[in-house]
């Protein structure tokens, strides 16, 4: 896939259910530990950005990655959450951290 095609590729759309990969890589990652393995809903595509996991080591990726804002119910992330059931938390996550939920 060319860099130009990659720059506009966005496998997920608002409303899609996604799961954060249960992965624990070393190095600089921007995916909070507390949301890994959890399911959420894509709220929006934020745009395409160079992968910070590469930038952190001085490498500039040629193909930007899709970044999504994903919404999770607070109670799903925090079983002892005492606030209203409708409360949510939104986390910005890169495409390669997400997998589709059937």
């Amino acid at each position: 896939m060319s860099a130009a095609a990659h720059a506009t590729s966005a496998p997920f759309a608002p409303g899609d259910r996604v799961r954060v990969r249960t992965a624990f890589p070393p190095g600089h990652v921007r995916t909070p530990h507390y949301c890994r393995g959890h399911e959420g809903v894509v709220e929006r595509l934020c745009g395409h950005f160079p992968n910070p996991e590469e930038l952190a080591y001085g490498r500039v990726p040629t193909a930007p990655c899709a970044l999504y804002r994903v919404r999770f119910p607070q109670r799903a992330l925090w079983p002892d959450y005492a606030g209203p059931a409708a409360d949510s938390v939104e986390i910005e996550l890169f495409d390669h951290w997400l997998e589709a939920v059937e």
Binding site: H28, P32, H33, P52, L55, G58
Partner: protein, 133 residues
């Protein structure tokens, strides 16, 4: 959410869970200090240095992602002991050494120069950092 991130006994558990020390979101951390405070001049200077180094017009020399990586690699202990801008300047030094912009010897000699210049000045407060976390 039962243990403080500063609890040394928590380090092994965090490693086993695949959680790196800096990744503290949602963990108990005690009361939040909401007091306002002025930055020390060296803290403003540290902020300015990073902005200049990260300016695309200068390359950039280093990126904010590299600054974060350098801070995250401090691990438990140093990460907790240093103030916010102490973490910044320590990471900036590490990254600039990695990139060959500065050598450890150059930084060491400069620190000696500055110490000598301030040898007669009384310390303004405990330690050398501000209160910024």
């Amino acid at each position: 959410m039962s243990q403080s991130p500063k609890d040394p006994g928590d380090v092994r558990g965090a490693i086993e869970a695949g959680r790196r020390h800096h990744d503290m979101g949602g963990r108990d951390a005690g009361p939040v200090d909401r007091s306002q405070h002025a930055h020390d001049p060296w803290e403003n200077k540290t902020d300015a240095i990073l902005r200049l180094l990260a300016d695309p017009a200068r390359g950039p020399v280093m990126r904010i992602d590299e600054l974060r990586r350098g801070i995250e690699e401090m691990g438990p202990g140093i990460y907790d002991e240093l103030s916010y801008y102490e973490r910044w300047i320590a990471s900036i030094a590490t990254i600039l050494m990695e990139k060959g912009v500065l050598t450890a010897d150059e930084i060491g000699r400069k620190i000696e120069d500055v110490r000598a210049r301030h040898a007669d000045a009384p310390p303004r407060r405990e330690g050398f950092g501000g209160g910024t976390r």
